[in-house]
């Protein structure tokens, strides 16, 4: 009996685990926005998001994410949401603040993670003709690009460049 209970426990656990691993991804609102009932800009408004508010991401559809806040569940524009639980970037403090070494020594202090392609490596790089030739060898023609697109069912559309919201610069 004890054995059966034990087996049952394991089975229940194994059923439970996938559910756990599919737990909703967390995120936070990059800006104040509106929660809507459907993923359309003219859909019914069902709530508000405050900047920095944490939420759970449940689903994605095109430019929209289905999210759950403490108050409501609804659709919000993908670009209004930052994924993950990392702290929100603070624009008040300024973008320069992000890389503390930026205006300073430029020396990046090694902390965690894999070794990056750092400035030292770039500076000491020696020109490698063989690798450039190799890279050039993979060249695709305009027509080959078109064939590749066709195979994937990609169809080119006309779409103008986006103007700069700040004004200035080329559109």
């Amino acid at each position: 009996m004890k054995f059966i209970k034990c087996i049952l426990g394991v089975v229940l656990m194994s059923l439970w685990l996938p559910v756990m691993s599919q737990a909703a991804e967390t995120g936070s609102a990059l800006k104040a926005d509106v929660l809507r009932q459907e993923p359309y800009s003219d859909a019914l408004k069902i709530g508000n998001l405050a900047r920095g508010e944490t939420l759970q991401i449940l689903n994605k559809k095109g430019a929209w994410l289905k999210v759950k806040t403490t108050q409501a569940t609804g659709w919000v524009r993908l670009l209004s949401v930052k994924r993950g639980s990392a702290a929100l970037f603070n624009p008040v403090k300024g973008v320069w603040d992000v890389a503390s070494g930026r205006a300073g020594t430029g020396k990046v202090v090694a902390t965690t993670g894999v070794r990056g392609l750092n400035e030292e490596e770039l500076k000491n790089a020696r020109y490698n003709e063989a690798e450039v030739k190799k890279m050039e060898h993979y060249i695709q023609t305009i027509q080959e690009g078109q064939q590749f697109a066709k195979k994937g069912g990609l169809k080119a559309i006309k779409f103008p460049y986006l103007p700069s919201p700040q004004g200035g610069g080329e559109p």
């Binding site: 430019a63 973008v95 305009i142």
Partner: protein, 297 residues
């Protein structure tokens, strides 16, 4: 051709010299100490205020407006230096795949006529680079973060936009390095083959330099449009920015990217402002996760 290589070398010498306030390599220091540094400094003083001087300065070569051929040669040199720091991933199928995606996206730009080249380099660093003339490189570390072809197209489209708008070429011109370099070449450095030779071999540092933030935001705006024009879901690039934004700032793999680009959150906000509801009418954009090439390791 040889003359051109000299010139690129000069550009790199001076580029590095300009960046001296940030960091300075011992080797380059040695090279520059052999008299060149003083000469450049003197030359710099003569030309004083950069903006004014650039229009008045008489160029010996036409560096203010290089031909397509010259542009490609500059880009080739920079790419060769970058590949010296990290070679291509040894996977023909992968390299061919990024060239197929990249070529199709580049076809949607105003410079489809360039001989576009794409490559994945063997480093776990998370970054992507472009050089004049149509050279685009993405790191294996960044490729590893991607989930579908639309996201790859978005990253490549951002880099293609830098090339289309000549952002790196302008960076070099803005700092007057090219004009000054041409002058130095004929007057002084031309005699000292050894110095140039030594410097050409070192110095992809130009890849570690920042563009104006406005150039990055512009490349983002153009990147999403090029992605959409190619028939992909337009949100490939913003999705990648969201993924990168999750990487801790202290992580070495994003150190250079975060140092040379606005924060991903800031880029997302700017993209959001520019996009608004403009893409709402774009339907049937593809992500093609099934076709997306999986890394072997």
């Amino acid at each position: 051709m040889m003359r051109l290589i000299y010139l690129v070398g000069v550009v790199l010498v001076i580029t590095v010299q300009q960046a001296a306030a940030i960091d300075f390599g011992e080797t380059l220091k040695e090279v520059l100490k052999s008299g060149v540094e003083e000469k450049i400094a003197a030359e710099n003083k003569e030309t004083a205020a950069p903006q004014v001087a650039s229009s008045e300065n008489k160029t010996i070569l036409n560096w203010g407006n290089p031909s397509v051929e010259e542009e490609i040669q500059i880009g080739r040199q920079i790419t060769g230096n970058l590949l010296g720091a990290a070679p291509l991933v040894k996977d023909d199928a992968l390299q061919k795949y990024v060239n197929q995606v990249g070529r199709w996206v580049a076809n949607q730009s105003e410079r489809a006529d360039l001989p576009w080249h794409f490559g994945v380099i063997d480093t776990e660093d998370i970054n992507a680079f472009s050089a004049p003339g149509g050279y685009v490189v993405i790191t294996k570390g960044l490729y590893r973060k991607l989930q579908n072809e639309a996201q790859l197209a978005g990253v490549l489209a951002h880099e293609i936009a830098h090339v289309v708008r000549s952002h790196h070429l302008k960076l070099l011109q803005k700092t007057q390095l090219l004009d000054l370099g041409a002058g130095l070449l004929s007057k002084k450095i031309g005699q000292n083959h050894e110095i140039i030779e030594k410097v050409i071999g070192r110095g992809a540092e130009v890849c570690a330099r920042s563009l104006d933030q406005s150039a990055e935001f512009e490349a983002d705006r153009m990147g999403v449009v090029l992605t959409a024009r190619a028939g992909y879901e337009p949100y490939g690039l913003p999705e990648v920015l969201q993924i990168i934004g999750q990487t801790a700032e202290g992580d070495n793999s994003v150190a250079l990217l975060f140092k040379t680009h606005p924060h991903p959150d800031d880029r997302l906000v700017k993209l959001d402002e520019a996009i608004g509801d403009r893409f709402d009418a774009v339907k049937n954009g593809k992500t093609l996760e099934k076709r997306f090439y999986k890394l072997k390791d």
